[in-house]
């Protein structure tokens, strides 16, 4: 048992901190957000140069073959800077999904361009009726003489406006809530039969609602030819939850630091705000929540390759713990910043919103608490 970072991991963390400090100030971020595209291709290239886009790509496809710990380290740094570039969608979700499910040929086609920063993907999974249940898939993939026809609707596909390809979860079997009969299809964003409505998201990113209407894709669009992709999807989303938990810890840490600094310098009734015992203890409570969130995130990261039940419980735990902690830390950071905290003038609100988004993506804490309870019953049975 050893919980210390390896030298390589420490170097990765240092590099991430340096990059963030030098290239992703809050002002730089604001400029990126206000640009037409809403993200920076230059930053994306730099991610590629730093090797981050290939972090979890197997070495044979040009990546570093690193694991969940490394992803967590990068994500925490991205969280500190509120990076809007679609690292989550491409490097944390698409890459492992392809690596898990794809055929050798698909991997060889899809992964190297990602590593090189030339391809970005988006994960078209959520549907209006499903409310976070991964097995609730209404989008249909119907076999045709030349391949597949996709029919259905996907909501809030994060990073879709920036993606060249979509990974579309679709149902091959006829029953809507069957654990088998689900596949993942690689579809070019520009394919016929796809209508995308793009919009901004809560956290400054971009996403799309996508309607598939007689969208024809070739036979080999089905990742690995697998009609039983749900376990891989669950693994990838659980691990994405772990990665987001690390990101959230980065967000929270900045909020605490900012709040401490602010309350120390802000004078009210003739003394610094931080002289108020109530506020000092509030910040202590924030620190405690962050310690817990960090522990819970680490738990989920270290369970990334465990058996499905352990992994799922750890991910849902992190969703709950990080969600609750994030809420508290963000709300208190806003509260303690007073009026300024509820404006776009400080970065506090931006962190608040990113933490909210992390809370929602892949399911609310309440959803995951119930999932955890269900899994606990499974384990007991």
């Amino acid at each position: 048992m050893d919980l210390s970072l390896s030298d390589e991991q420490r170097l990765l963390g240092d590099a991430a901190s340096r990059f963030i400090a030098g290239r992703y100030s809050f002002e730089a971020r604001r400029t990126i957000l206000q640009s037409t595209e809403g993200f920076s291709r230059e930053i994306w290239r730099e991610f590629a140069d730093l090797g981050w886009l290939g972090l979890s790509v197997p070495e044979e496809f040009g990546g570093l073959g690193a694991g969940a710990v490394e992803t967590g380290i990068v994500m925490e740094a991205l969280g500190r800077a509120l990076v809007v570039e679609p690292y989550l969608a491409t490097a944390v979700i698409a890459v492992p999904l392809i690596a898990e499910l794809g055929s050798q040929q698909q991997k060889a086609e899809l992964l190297p361009p990602i590593v090189a920063g030339k391809s970005r993907l988006a994960f078209a999974q959520a549907e209006p009726q499903a409310r976070f249940a991964l097995d609730d898939v209404a989008t249909k993939a119907v076999r045709t003489s030349v391949g597949w026809r996709l029919e259905g609707r996907k909501d809030v596909v994060l990073g879709a406006p920036w993606a060249d390809h979509l990974l579309v979860v679709a149902r091959i079997s006829p029953t809507q809530r069957d654990r088998s009969g689900i596949g993942v299809f690689v579809v070019p964003s520009s394919a016929a039969g796809i209508v995308r409505t793009d919009y901004q998201t809560l956290d400054g990113g971009r996403a799309s609602n996508i309607v598939f209407s007689e969208a024809a894709v070739p036979t080999d669009a089905l990742l690995g030819g697998s009609e039983h992709a749900l376990p891989a999807i669950e693994k990838v989303t659980d691990n994405a939850i772990a990665a987001m938990a690390s990101e959230a810890v980065g967000c929270m840490q900045v909020l605490l630091e900012t709040t401490i600094a602010y309350t120390k310098q802000r004078i009210q009734f003739g003394k610094p705000l931080a002289d108020n015992q109530v506020l000092r203890h509030r910040m202590a409570a924030m620190a405690v929540k962050i310690e817990e969130a960090r522990a819970s995130a680490l738990n989920a990261v270290l369970a990334a390759d465990a058996d499905p039940l352990t992994r799922a419980r750890a991910a849902s735990s992190a969703k709950v713990k990080v969600g609750r902690s994030g809420r508290f830390v963000a709300e208190q950071a806003v509260q303690l910043h007073g009026g300024m905290g509820v404006t776009e003038e400080l970065n506090v609100g931006a962190y608040f919103k990113r933490l909210m988004a992390i809370d929602i993506i892949f399911g609310s804490p309440e959803f995951h608490l119930q999932r955890h309870a269900r899994l606990s019953r499974q384990q007991a049975a």
Partner: protein, 398 residues
Amino acid sequence: MDLSFSKDELAFRDEVRDFIAKNLTEEARRGQRLTPSALSEKAVFGSWHAALYRKGWVAPYWPKEYGGAGWTPAQRYIFESELGLAGAPRLLPFGIHMVGPVIIKFGSQVQKDYYLPRILSGEDYWCQGYSEPGSGSDLASLKTKAVRDGDHYVVNGTKIWTTHAHFADRMFALVRTADTPKRQEGISFLLIDMKTKGISTRPIITIGGDHEVNQVFFDDVHVPVENRVGEENKGWTYAKYLLEFERGAGFRASGLRRELKELRELIARDRAGSVAGDESLASRLSEIEIDIDALEMIELKLLSDVQAGRNPGPVSSVLKLRGTEVFQAITRLGVDVIGHNALVWEPRRPLYGLNEPAVLPEEELAILPAHLDGRAHTIFGGTSEIQHEIIAKQMLGL
């Protein structure tokens, strides 16, 4: 002890309901529903203000001689409850609840004659110049200076959090007219025409994406001395009087009840049933409703005390504290209810003014911004921490 209304009170309630039915347009209701910030804009409340003005109900709690309605506290409660339940836009409080009562109590006859009718008619749109950057809850630390120059004050400085300064015709402002060791002395209360040369405003965008508040700058702004209310350097007294009004302003429970009802309707609209069937959601709705029931009873007891001529004590702090928390709980639940749709950001503002379809259905449009803007409720008008301080001091003698 009796919760039921008397025959007269019931008749009055019917009158209010009838008035609402006839005068509160669907457009105004929609505008209010789609207003995520604390106050709606004139395009939303305008027709409703006009209707109330015609009826003589714009400022019913003013003394009758100035246009008040001479209501009993029960009538007042009925009036506000019905408006809350109906989802009527709130009229701007700055004239009616704030500067109006100050002018009535401390203003000159000329000021009364000029300003009060214009508040009632809506001709004057007021804003409040109290807070300054750096003052926060410590209002008395304000620094904006007014230096006497003949029959004018020359005002220099800046005010912040000025709600609707970008719409307002006039501002009532606290300014420093003397440097005294006790900071509460040396403050005066001025009425300032927003069109005066030297005034500029800078929008402050909230985290919900709304432009409701501003920073206002004063650069050698000349304000006639006759625009001062009461005595020079006695402004703090008037400000405190006004704050009492602000704190006691309005019954909130009925409005919260309507917001909860709208949330229940949103849940009922969920066709897939994955939301409506969620037990934990049902429990959270009940939890909030139970809070609202308690708040409403505290309001009724406050009313009853006022009616009986008893001093209700600092219970308005309890109402402020819990009312804002319950509001935040409702908006947070709203966010949970719409699931991943809460990730969708609608940048176009105001929401009620959208004339092309949004990504979200209209009933979900204000949920996220209301939740975000709503974080301000526990900050403005006395932070929750300040309310605890008041309760500890005034209610518990601590």
